[in-house]
């Protein structure tokens, strides 16, 4: 039966994460962006909420409660707080979920429990490539067979690169087939250079260069069906969509509240149709984008093909997140252009959604 209401448990999760984002994340967004650094203590506190760990199987220390829909609810609230911090908080999923979905029993047993431990352990996923002709489904990064080993060569970018874990999941093409590999971060031939980007400045991201990086056969995620890069990219699109809805909602609310108190010619600017209608359009597009995201997430949870719906959702979110953030900056007028107010930060972060192909965080 068609329905659009989070259930009681989901609502509790939303309320909890929203409260956390409001109290711990949002107040730090600006300073972290200026400093180019994450708030470590916030990552630890967030880890205690078990947002990623809960999705892991019980025998790995989780609650076995894996749901893309719930993941989207969480992602939206975190991103509402701050996109960089949200990605950091959810980053364990970048390793844990490919392991869960594509890893062999041995790979899962060895690594998964680490992401449910007390200490926060971030994750790293390398699927975006810097070339103009990049293709998330068919990576240019190559994996050549060398006996029992693989040799990886290529370039990756926009790789979340937090301290605290020792592997990065890398997508590469092997004999025409897309594969995922668990590559040690300190592998010989792997060079990581910290990036500086338009947005997501608080999130350490790296550009990776792999030169004949040698990994054993056991590094290839090789569960029953092996690596499924298409599934990972699909999930990644859904996650990006949810994050984008959060950023857009943050921008809209800021603009709405500002417009209600900022006066020109004797009345709040929110009483002018040009502003009021702009805000109305923002609200409509955000709600629409959220529903598209939920539909794709729901399909993932049902085990249905979701690439089309995930793509439709992300197409909309990329457009509207930018329009809403740009519109919010516009509502703030000259103040919106300064770094005293958040809209310019949200705009810079929102643009990142268009260049990130996939962040499989749900």
């Amino acid at each position: 039966m068609i329905g659009f209401d989070p259930d009681d448990e989901q609502q509790l999760i939303i309320d909890t994460v929203r409260q956390f984002a409001s109290a711990q994340i949002r107040p730090r967004a600006r300073d972290c962006d200026e400093a180019g650094k994450l708030p470590e203590e916030v990552l630890s506190q967030a880890h205690e909420l078990g947002l990623v760990a809960n999705a892991l199987p019980e025998d790995c220390g989780g609650s076995g409660a894996r749901s893309a829909v719930t993941g989207c609810l969480v992602a939206e609230e975190l991103a509402w707080g701050d996109l960089s911090i949200a990605v950091a908080v959810l980053s364990p999923a970048l390793v844990a979920f490919p392991l869960l979905d594509c890893g062999s029993a041995a790979q899962r047993a060895e690594r998964l429990p680490r992401y449910a431990e007390r200490r926060f352990r971030p994750g790293a996923l390398a699927v975006v490539e810097p070339e103009f002709r990049r293709d998330a489904f068919r990576p240019a990064t190559e994996a050549l067979r060398r006996g029992q080993d693989f040799e990886l060569s290529g370039r990756k970018c926009l790789v979340p690169w937090l301290e605290g874990d020792d592997v990065v999941v890398v997508s590469a093409s092997c004999e025409g087939r897309a594969e995922l590999f668990l590559v040690p971060r300190d592998a010989r031939g792997l060079a990581a250079a910290r990036e500086r980007n338009l947005g997501l400045q608080a999130l350490p991201t790296a550009e990776l260069e792999l030169r004949s990086v040698r990994v054993p056969a056991s590094a290839r995620l090789a569960g029953e069906s092996g690596s499924d890069l298409a599934a990972l990219v699909t999930r990644g699109r859904v996650a990006l969509s949810a994050l984008g809805v959060g950023v857009a909602r943050a921008a809209f609310e800021l603009a709405r509240d500002y417009a209600k108190q900022r006066e020109t010619f004797g009345a709040p600017i929110a009483t002018r149709q040009s502003i009021a209608f702009k805000l109305a359009d923002m609200a409509i597009e955000i709600d629409a984008a959220r529903l598209l995201t939920w539909e794709a997430a729901w399909r993932l949870d049902q085990g249905l093909p979701a690439l089309r719906e995930a793509t439709l959702a992300l197409q909309q979110v990329r457009r509207i997140a930018l329009e809403v953030c740009d519109g919010a900056l516009q509502v703030f007028g000259g103040h919106g252009y300064t770094r005293e107010y958040l809209p310019e930060l949200l705009l810079r972060n929102a643009r990142g959604l268009a260049v990130c192909e996939a962040l499989a965080l749900v």
Partner: protein, 407 residues
Amino acid sequence: MPICFEPSENTVVAQAHYHRIAVEQMRPLSRRYDDDEHALPVEWVDWYWQHGRVGPGRIGVEGDGFVQVCAQAEELCWGDAGLYLRMPTPALGGSAVAAAGTDEQKRRFLSRFRADEGRPIWGAMAITEPQAGSDAAAIQTSAALEGEEWVLNGTKIFCTAGEGASSVEGGFVVVWATVDRSAGRGGIKSFVVPAGTPGMKLVGLEKKLGIRASDTATLVFENCRVPRANLLGSAEVKKQAEGKAGDKGFKGAMATFDASRPIVAAMAVGVGRAALDLLLELLEREGVRPRYDAAPAEQSAVERDLIEMQAELQAARLLTWRAAAMMNRGRPNNLEASMAKAKAGLAVTRITQKAVELLGPAGYSKKLLLEKWMRDAKINDIYEGTQQINQLIVARRILDYPSSLLR
């Protein structure tokens, strides 16, 4: 209802049922009754009266309620939006009776629409006047009580199904009129005027861009007398802007729109889907289909457009279903209904116009129905609350502003 995108079995059966009707009964008539603007589409009207009112069978108990109603409206408008509006049903007039009428009035006016025999009849709602559209409270048609009769005087335009409802015995027109102009919206009431009542005259039918199969009427009321018992709801005139609970006057009538708005949005989605379905089908024949895993540098402009159009249509559909789902629980959905209507109207206008563009001369030609759907789509931005009015409603809600603060 918890987050779920699977329609109930009833909905699926209904969609198939109405889709078949759209294919077999509506599409074959589309071109003819678009060309022959003021002709009565007898084949459709008679078929619907004899076979269409039955509806699909129900399976099980749990259904999607108003979401299913929206899905049904979508299928029929995928067929032909003009013919949909020409269906012999109580329509908006019936909604007004259902919302504001007494049990006796509901029986008196609505029961004939369920009758086994008899001929097709229509219900309609007449609100708009030459000088009053969006500003419904500014209507001037007057109603004066003389003894046991209300006497109506005024002119109504843009009355959908107005020809059928005013002239075919058994039908009726619900007319908004004011009993006291000085009271503003508090003086506005609805009156049921049975078809054929002396003093109600059909003076013209609009020539329109689209939905040409729909009879859009101008009705003049000159000392039109109806029984006292044809007033819907209370005769009391409240001088305050907001009526108390139980006043079924202006507020009750506006609430009718909250209920019909999702359905109108669903109608728009149907027209948009007709265009998109045809576009995808014809492009498929040319070997062009949208790939969802294309590398950005390889994605063609057409693919990009197709993905955007599909996303826009689905966004409109989901907003509509959300508003409809809220009605199932009796939750106020003024904001959500307006969001749905605003989005749907705009989205399908863009989708149909883009579809014509993408198909080039074929899209422009009357050999295909696509150009007709582009013409049919545009009205959704306008009737039952214009794009701008819906934006205004949304804006007021999100800003928590009364109408006095945001015009």
